[in-house]
Amino acid sequence: MTTLVIAEPSVEGVKVPTLTTLGAASKLGGDVHVLVLGYSDGGQGVGAVAEATAKVAGVAKVLTADAAELAHGLAENVAPLVVGLVKSGGYSHVLAPSTTFGKNVAPRVAALLDVAQISDITGVESPDTFTRPIYAGNAIATVQSSDPVKVATVRGTAFEAVAATGGSAAVEAAAGAADAGLSKFVSQEVSKSERPELTSARVIVSGGRGMQSGDNFPLLEALADKLGAAVGASRAAVDAGFVPNDYQVGQTGKIVAPELYIAVGISGAIQHLAGMKDSKVIVAINKDEEAPIFQIADYGLVADLFKAVPELTSELGKAG
């Protein structure tokens, strides 16, 4: 029994979603191989990421695929490569992180292998049995696969990241990348931020419809900077155009579980709760004392956010 983990594409170092996916892989037992793919384009890229991945605890082998057609993780080109490796390597499991990359590629791999995919697993009961949330996390299903290869995506917040050091895996180049000629990358608009990434931040400050306008988000940013936090948002705030889509926390956005989640002007629709209710400590600031968010918040403050947030920022600035 050997598991192939498809690493989250990276330009530098091993990404957190790769480490948490390896956390899930370690629960399966058996050897773990990691596929590091991308395109270095003359730079260090894939090779350096592969070297870093080889040092991760518990990894037996790192396979690298470095080719122009693998740039930007196009599923049409990545999936056949993975399928080729599964067939030649005799893998029993293929795991990918539940990132937009993993969610795009893994079902394509599963269908080409004629097997089901188990989406967003939150627990490993045995090598063929997994738990996963359904209905926005309002129910947890335990599912068993009878397919010869188990393909699954892994919810990062549900597994401990493995240690990034302590391993000494062999690195091998994998052949088989080709351009399917179906798709090409045109452009990207990536949000630039000095703040931590939402999915790995220790603290998150999130804003909802109550923020009234994108112009008011600097209030949250000031608070976030005081706490070293990431800034998130509810769907309502994203739909209203206050902030870009990559801020969205919820059932169909990002799933987060920080130490501290501060929900500001967020009413608490079940779709939003689905994305953050596993946070260790939840604080809600809302002027509507009936808002459902208060039912799950550890600490609720019924207040006008436009007064409370600046006050909180300044209070945190005080010594002691």
Partner: protein, 249 residues
């Protein structure tokens, strides 16, 4: 260009689902059912493409029980031209549905297939990708903008870091994200007209497709409950609690 749109009948997004006491699933008897919200966005996008002269016909498909006819009628009322129900009363899973859609795509020869990125019941987020794989077509998942051109389509995708635009060769599969459009409500005259639009029912066997689930659900349970906490009276009290009680700052 013909567009094929797939829709699923699911528990309405406003319903707070209850896990059945025997742990076999969630309660769906006497619960409001609706079209999966992402699929509404898919229907809307197809209708807009037709209104813009980019599409000639919209065929809407569902794989599910007899009652899914209502969901298809809703899509017809929104502007789809005809409907096909692949009748199946048992549980459906993504791979089986993708195979049924593949069989229909081969028969109907659409230039584009649009689906919701995920259904809000099983939250699988697989069918579009699987369909694209089985057809050997390109896939534009989590779309927030689609711009068809001659033989290609530009799809802007919502990704973890922001937005990405890819150019796909047609025919292709697109799955919708929330920001693609805001679906219309069907008007009463259109609901009446939809009743007269053609709705064909087929079964999976006639398509040569096996819908038997590959994953066996052993158990469905309630998630751990999160106990509600306390209300604090002031910002100072909140900061004090976070420091001394929760110890997170």
């Amino acid at each position: 260009m013909k567009i094929l749109v797939a829709v699923k009948r699911v528990v309405d997004y406003n319903v707070k689902v209850r896990v059945k006491a025997d742990g076999t699933g969630v309660e769906t008897a006497n619960v409001k059912m609706s079209m999966n919200p992402f699929d509404e966005i898919a229907v809307e996008e197809a209708v807009r493409l037709k209104e813009a002269g980019k599409a000639t016909e919209i065929v809407v498909v569902s794989v599910g029980p007899t009652q899914a006819q209502e969901t298809l009628r809703t899509a017809l009322a929104m502007g789809a031209d005809r409907a096909i129900l692949v009748q199946n009363d048992a549980e459906t899973q993504s791979l089986g549905v993708a195979k049924a859609l593949k069989a229909l795509a081969e028969k109907e020869q659409p230039g584009l297939v649009i689906l919701g990125k995920q259904a809000i019941d099983d939250d699988a987020n697989q069918t579009g990708q699987m369909l694209a794989a089985l057809l050997g077509w390109a896939q534009g998942t989590f779309a927030s903008k689609v711009v068809p051109a001659e033989g290609t389509i530009a799809v802007t995708r919502e990704i973890d870091g922001g937005l990405e635009t890819v150019e796909l060769k047609l025919p292709a599969v697109v799955t919708t994200d929330l920001r693609l459009n805001e679906p219309r409500y069907a008007s009463l005259p259109n609901i009446m007209k939809a009743k007269k639009k053609p709705l064909e029912t087929v079964d999976a066997a006639s398509l040569g497709v096996d819908l038997t689930p590959r994953l066996k659900t052993l158990k469905v349970a309630e998630p751990p409950k999160r106990a509600g906490g306390v209300k604090v009276g002031s910002v100072q009290e909140l900061v004090a609690k976070l420091k001394t009680e929760a110890r997170v700052i």
